[in-house]
Symmetry: C2
Subunit: 338 residues, 2 copies
DNA sequence: GTCAAAACTGTGACCGGTCACAGTTCTATC
DNA sequence: GATAGAACTGTGACCGGTCACAGTTTTGAC
């Protein structure tokens, strides 16, 4: 490997200043909005930036300003949920785009194993990022504790159980959504409606069940509730359990599309027609909902809005603004499974 | 909001040096491997780091060393492919973990729109990251051109068409994999085997077709080939087209599980039983393969290995090592669709 | 025509590390 | 016991920006 002639040092702000015939300070001002610089100077600097091919050095800027212009996208889910569930990639993409527009970057942090946990905690504690987008934390998440204690600006996705008031949150109205889903099944004439819930230590796991129970009122039968962990496999085994306990079940509300998909597979193997014999409704409206046969009726979560709101909120907190939480509406998407 | 008492300034290397009774230089040496420092000094520094709660400032370090200790995970796919296809999240997660082990971070870059393209090019050109993991680039990708011209160390996933020798790559043997898949169908006794290909400007789109054709030899019928774009919808319409052209088709090889899933839906609606009437084989072994009914036979890509190799290779190039490419084997996973 | 305020510009210190180099101590060799 | 070299330590310069402040010019009011 020969040394390329491209060994020219990267231009610094001093090079630009020299080329434009002004001082570093003026160049800096032009870069940062251009206030309080004369039109002549600004033009000269703009020109010099072009000719030199200058780009500000992020590290130097961070060091001087104390801000990194990056935020962490923090995943704490155990591994199998992550790639089983396509929802997180929607959030991720949305957040990345939203941040890019604001010229900030997104660093992905995965805290699956305990070892990763402590590494992540260290990393965040060191102040390497300006803020954290916390994705779907389980109750009593130790990471949340350390986040709160280090004081890194944080916005959560889905109300972290037990910390409702401590931390700004973007979430959907779980209870209302679950009621809507349940009402839909009732309105379709179903009588024996079961539910496959998410883990009880997650907001979706807990509150969707609450909405389900609230909506059914007196006709709620605890025997028709079976827990899952959002994964397809858990949906399948939960459905199997429900079928065994209540062969006359005529509808099921799953707290995720993945679990609904698992349930559909089991129902079909059991010879049930969907929706004639059993109606199925999911939650999320992830890409999965369309791959299932029949396509799933589901509660759509506005993932694009969620990520946009999270970024907006986080940046607001980083700027020193007061923190508030946002609740977004879901919508019922009716397809062929009900 | 009252000012918290936690306004204590973050400890710097000088604080640690003072606490340990040594110089900054010694502390720096301890942090970076601890060579050439006496056991006494090292112990004192380690102790001081603990008591002060010191973490090195990444920006300062980057500024001094000229390295950012971060790499970009660059997505250039058009939007709809991204979240339709779960494969990228596997790669992403694998890469993040692999990097975390080496105390580097992964910044996610999305270059979907032309505007994002130029922003990303700028960002990379500015040297904000030490290297780039390039995910599935299409031929004549302008971003690739600018990457090569800026000289940022880059490793591609899947041989970038037209740049085979310019850039280190981690890929699977597309042709051999396609031959294995095709052979499997032939061995199952199928006679009229169709293929749904990926876009011709992607390596998977081009070379899987080559393998398919090679394996079939004389019995290859160009009339039984229909292009798709890896998405489920495209798989469905391609399957519909094939069925119309060749109602006697008895097997189909799709270049992605998503397309296979789309094909399965169409086949079932057409009254075909799978695999009795038509066998279907996919590619990837993404999570999707198990959600389809029946579960898909498919060619498994070793995504964990791919991301691990990519990171390893990239870091090697960053360190100034010579670049080489790696080809990994796929494996046939037989399920119920063949 | 004076003077104050507004508009603009340049300078030096600083952010928190790393690195080269010079200086010191310790060990081993003849 | 002189001396070379290894092992260890401290110092100042530097990375490339930003910022506060001081200095200069322009503008407008009286």
């Amino acid at each position: 490997m020969e040394t390329t002639p491209t060994t020219k040092r990267k231009p610094t702000i001093r090079d630009v200043a020299a080329a434009a015939g002004v001082s570093r300070g003026t160049v800096s001002r032009v870069i940062n909005g251009g206030h309080w610089v004369s039109p002549d100077a600004k033009a000269a600097v703009d020109q010099a930036i072009k000719t030199t091919g200058y780009h500000a050095n992020a590290a130097a800027r961070s060091l001087a300003t104390g801000r990194s212009n990056s935020v962490a996208f923090l995943l704490t889910e155990p591994q199998h949920l992550l790639f089983a569930d396509p929802t997180f990639s929607l959030l991720l993409r949305g957040a990345a785009q939203e941040l890019a527009q604001r010229h900030m970057t997104l660093v992905l942090l995965v805290a699956g194993t305990p070892e990763e946990h402590i590494n992540v905690a260290q990393y965040l504690g060191a102040g390497h990022v300006d803020g954290v987008l916390l994705i779907s934390s389980h109750e009593s998440d130790p990471l949340l504790e350390s986040l709160l204690s280090t004081g890194v600006p944080t916005v959560a996705c889905g109300i972290p159980l037990g910390h409702a008031s401590d931390i700004p949150t973007v979430s959907v109205d779980e209870i209302a959504s679950a009621r809507t889903a349940t009402r839909h099944l009732v309105e379709r004439g179903n009588q024996r409606i079961g539910m496959i819930t998410g883990p009880a230590d997650t907001p979706g796991g807990r509150y969707r069940l609450v909405g389900f129970r609230d909506e059914l009122g007196d006709s709620f039968d605890p025997n028709l509730v079976e827990p899952g962990d959002y994964s397809m496999a858990s949906g399948a085994s939960a459905m199997a359990a429900l079928l065994e306990r209540a062969p006359d079940i005529d509808a099921v509300f799953a707290a995720s599309d993945s679990m609904a998909a698992g349930a559909v597979g089991v129902l079909r193997k059991a010879g049930k027609r969907i929706p004639e014999d059993v109606s199925v409704i999911g939650f999320d409206d992830s890409g999965l909902a369309l791959t299932v046969e029949p396509p799933l009726t589901t509660m759509r979560q506005p993932f694009e809005q969620i990520s946009a709101e999270m970024v907006g909120l986080l940046l607001h907190v980083i700027e020193g603004g007061t923190s508030k939480s946002v609740t977004l509406p879901t919508s019922l998407v009716v397809r062929d499974s009900t």
